[in-house]
């Protein structure tokens, strides 16, 4: 976990130098250097072949597919689908439904990631303050949540929010003056999305809290003590000491959360019983419905390609950000 390394430990290691992993104190013999061009490649071949077969080939197929018009007929008969150029892309990009889906997916990602990261960080900070026993209990409880498969968790949430039998309605209905019997949580998209977000955040927090807790152990106690002695409030310590040290780690877990939540599928799919209404479609479910539900395989591919490109934008931004953080410190 080199990301957890505090800037202090990294500094003496000549930050401006070349990026190769030099083993300190190791003197490389000259002879070796000559064929170093080939050997790494040879060693990497098995991995590269695997990546090419498992990622490269499907990716290329998907790209090719997005320029064709493959429907059920072509799928069954095995005939080459007709080439249609950029038609599928034009169709997707000029479709307002698609842009609504993109907007919704982005909005959900921003909101859910913000809540998860802040929630995760809060719990991690709390874990530093409680006794060992409580901390252990928290870790175990979160491990259970973490270990629950998405599908199972989503199914449980579906039952809890069921309008006829759901325990959530039952409990809210117990409040005096509230009639929540037969309340449907998915009529109002805001309520529906609250349920989905709650599920995603609930399932996402354990990873964030446990990782950030690990990161917090790397914050030098002396620094915090010195700050306290100098009269810093806990809030100032958090802002000026803990957060800067945790920043690389927070960036990483945020990036991961963005990637996961952007690809939201299972939760929305299960909570809507396999038929998400338009207001509950995200990019992933929309692409799936188009491709597999309605046998528009090429259109689905085009949506998937566009999704990848959108994600790529986010990824590049974050990776650059990450490097920048590393360099500045």
């Amino acid at each position: 976990m080199s990301v957890v390394d505090s800037p202090a430990t990294r500094r003496p290691r000549d930050p401006g130098g070349p990026r190769q992993n030099r083993v300190p104190g190791h003197v490389a013999p000259r002879r070796r250097k000559r064929n170093s061009g080939l050997v790494p490649w040879a060693l990497a071949v098995p991995a590269l072949v695997l990546i090419a077969a498992l990622l490269g080939y499907p990716l290329v197929r998907m790209l090719v597919l997005s320029f064709q018009n493959m429907r059920l007929r072509e799928l069954i008969s095995g005939r080459t689908p007709p080439w249609v150029g950029f038609d599928q892309y034009t169709r997707v990009l000029t479709d307002e439904v698609f842009w609504a889906v993109v907007g919704r997916t982005v909005a959900f990602t921003v909101v859910s990631v913000l809540i998860s990261v802040i929630g995760g960080l809060s719990i991690a900070l709390l874990m530093r303050r409680v006794t060992r026993g409580v901390r252990l209990f928290m870790v175990i409880a979160m491990m259970f949540v973490w270990a629950l498969p998405q599908l199972v968790a989503a199914q449980i949430f579906r039952w809890m929010t069921d309008s006829d039998f759901g325990v959530v309605n039952y409990l809210i209905d117990k409040l005096p003056g509230v009639n929540y019997q037969n309340h449907s949580w998915f009529v109002n998209p805001w309520q529906g999305w609250s349920v989905i977000t709650a599920l995603v955040v609930w399932a996402g927090i354990p990873f964030l809290a446990i990782t950030l807790n690990a990161g917090l152990t790397q914050v030098p106690k002396e620094l915090l003590e010195a700050a306290t002695v100098d009269g810093a409030t806990p809030w100032q310590s958090l802002r000026n000491i803990i957060l800067p040290i945790l920043k690389p780690l927070i960036t990483i877990v945020t990036t991961l959360s963005v990637i996961w939540n952007f690809g939201l599928f299972t939760q929305a799919w299960v909570l809507r019983d396999g038929h998400p209404e338009p207001q509950f479609q995200t990019l992933a479910t929309y692409s799936y419905t188009q491709a597999f539900g309605q046998a528009r395989y090429s259109l689905g591919s085009a949506i998937a390609v566009i999704t990848v490109l959108l994600m790529l934008g986010v990824m590049i931004f974050y990776i650059r950000q990450m490097f920048r953080i590393g360099e500045v410190d």
Binding site: L75, T80, V187, D273, F292
Partner: protein, 437 residues
Amino acid sequence: MKRKIAAVAAIAATLLGAAACGSNSDEDAPTTSASGKVDGTGKTLKVWLMVDAQSAWKNVVDDASKRFTDATGATVNVEYQQWANHLTKLDATLAGSDVPDVVELGNTEFPKYVFSGAFGAVNPADYENSDSWLQGLKGACDFEGKTYCVPYYAGARVLIYRTDLLKKVGAEAPKSYDEFLATAEKVQNAEKANSKFGAVYMPGQYWYAAMSWVKSTGGDIAKQEGDKWVGQLSQPQSIEGLQRWVDMVKKYSKADPTKNENDQANTFAQGTAAMFYGNAWEQGAAEETKKDPNNPDSPLVPTKVKGKLAAAPMPEVPSFLGGSNLGITEKSQQKELAAQWIKAFTDSTSMAGLVKANALPNATALLDKAAADNKTIAPAALAAKNSWFPPNAEKWADVEKGAVLQTMLTDVLTGKKSVADGAKWADDQINTTLNES
């Protein structure tokens, strides 16, 4: 980098080309005959049936398979599929070469596959009762003058009601739509104390029901004008029927407007409604439930409404004729055997077995006998005579999968759209989907 991409593209193109060479027969495949004797010794026939056959009439399947095995020597391997994902699974399977020989699909699902060349043509004359096959089932098999599937069973929807609750307010099975509304009103008032109670359980996305109401006032979903399909929901007669349904649901139903009818029997079994609109067999499903739903052999346990239910045709509302057909896959290597099995599974003996299990037989000639033999399905058999089915359009399944009608109904019920706006929106979606090239 560029060269790398070019190389990858070249490899991909080669692979694609190779895949494309696999099979390219576009000529008309011959019609598979089911007459004469076929020797299938040592062969195994792969059959995909839907889960209903497993839960309700497995004995009929086993009996037909046994007779088939006796006649041909081939064994049968039946795999039961779930409605939720069977099409996705079928698509993936049909893309390969190891395909099931016989596949059951819902009648509204068939046209898309028939058009796409998934099934081989059959000769109707080889099958019993084929001259009076229910049009709602057979229509889905017809394409360019040939028949590509065999009707299997049907289901017509009826009004299933609580005899005890209706008796309490002095009502019987309604004879007219007005009487139905009056009964609902009375029961609703009688059960006022229970805030969970709604006289009619009608989930909001139950589009088979809503469209039946549309049909009841002379409306329609879509019709063919020349080469084009034109959505009809925003026509005045359709709007009238839709409005009629919406008014009824808003007033008497406490069901979730975002749910569909899949689970309605179980929900109804909780005793918080007096009437629901369902398939004949759903009466049984509401009265008894499997102790372990994952085990088809588990014993039945009675529910709260056991012995308190009866069925009647829904007055003045034509029934959606649902059901299933059986097709022989085009890629099957043993089409003749497949035809023999279908012949055994759809003959009068098998149909009698289905009737016992509360399903409707595949032919009008058998409906009257079914009604006489099994009192439970008598209302449904009656309802089947006044029935409708969705547009027989190649892309109709896409309208269903796209949840067009379901979304419209939820939007209208929750007040997000007016009936007129909802109908207009659905028409636009239907036009786009059905006429997509």
